[in-house]
Amino acid sequence: MEKSTYSTKKGLAQMLKGGVIMDVVTPEQAKIAEDAGAVAVMALERVPADIRAQGGVARMSDPGMILKIMEAVSIPVMAKVRIGHIVEAQILEEIGVDYIDESEVLTPADTKHHINKHQFRVPFVCGARDLGEALRRIAEGAAMIRTKGEAGTGNVVEAVFHMRTVMDEIRKLSSMSKDELMAEAKNLGAPYELITEVGVTGRLPVVNFAAGGIASPADAALMMQLGADGIFVGSGIFKSENPLKRAKAMVEATTHFNNPKVLAEVSKDLGEAMHGLELSEIKEKDRLAVRGW
């Protein structure tokens, strides 16, 4: 018997596929998410839209608050640590969260290094904008990837760009001859072994969800059609007029992403979506997706 193997870490992400993971800030929101059919919740003190609005340093959430959410629901509970903050990760492993998100949404603790995730028993998910970044995180031990998008904007444009970029690069690798792969490994800044593996299999070695700006059932289905394995929704649900109804609709849209009839039905009468931000309104220094190395 062996616990916390890479297969069990990757395996939990595989069990979440085709599902929606929702940001929640209270046990009550966690229950609403579970009732709506979320496959997991991300426990945090402020959703990305509020972090963006309030500014300041965003850190790991209070472990006491995360534990209350873990007690409130039977689905897996994830929580975020700052990029490179090894000790925040040790604390979350100690309280037994099911997954850690080493997240650009929080203020980075290290401007050069990410956490060596192989050292942990708890699995990690990390953000990526392109294939090189995804494979660097996987080499560090990430058992799940999410494309970054631009969190807290309610604007899907960056999520689309990142997912298309990753998928394009995978297709390109698949069509390359073996002697081109080393140069491409150098070009993408990713380990040669992983580049070779992706070239052969034509897919990432771990599950890849879409995140950052997904705010409607149509957004969720769009990301699934572009090749996402599942969806993270941050501010999009609890910053909208009718969270339960919208959450349910997004769950159904993620399952029936290829069925316009269902998508039309679930998109009806959802009330106001979160207001959202046009990307050009966000200064370069305020972009979250550029955090990560």
Binding site: M1, S4, L12, M15, I75, G96, V251, H256
Partner: protein, 225 residues
Amino acid sequence: MIAEMKKRQPIGILALQGSFLEHALAVEKTGAQAVLVRLPKDLEGVKGLIIPGGESTTISKLLDAYNLTDIIRNLALRGFPLYGTCAGMILLSKKIENSNADLSRVNSLSLIDITIRRNAFGRQLESFEEELDMPVIGKRPFHAIFIRAPLILQVGSSVRILASLKDNSQHNLQGKQIVAVEQGAILVTAFHPELTDDLRIHRYFLEKVKKYARQKNDLIVNSFI
């Protein structure tokens, strides 16, 4: 081609959420045809159905939302073969024991006479891999992956036990730890054969399908969808 001339057995994979693509791949590797099932009409013509791993709360809500719960139940009561892994096993069980949660979270299909406990070993940090003896698929042990896995606590008289964990002490649990059983045409495992390359359990289920899938199945399916 010869392979195309021989009609492949269509097996449904419930594709609402979870590891359905992994199951579909395993089914295709055995030579059968995988059919993804999201709506009642997708059941047309399939000879058996696999309910994958995933989140049982999520899958149960999506089953209810499109009337699949009653249809699958009615089919199964007439001998339609079903195989549930992990969340699938939870959904097929008659009784769910859950010490810290209200039962309403999972609306079970209630088809196999077992009592199970969700997340019986604990949270993700307790997920594990173990070699399992399962005589019905052969002598070689099966490498089983358990993820936030449920456990079978009690079985009814019509249920046959196929595999149990060898060493109870490592999981801090009492009693016999049953992880695979069958009852007629229904098979369930607490672990995930779809995450490994070992196809023996899928083949075992497909044998069941052959045995139980008679022509009347088509008539039954068409009468419910």
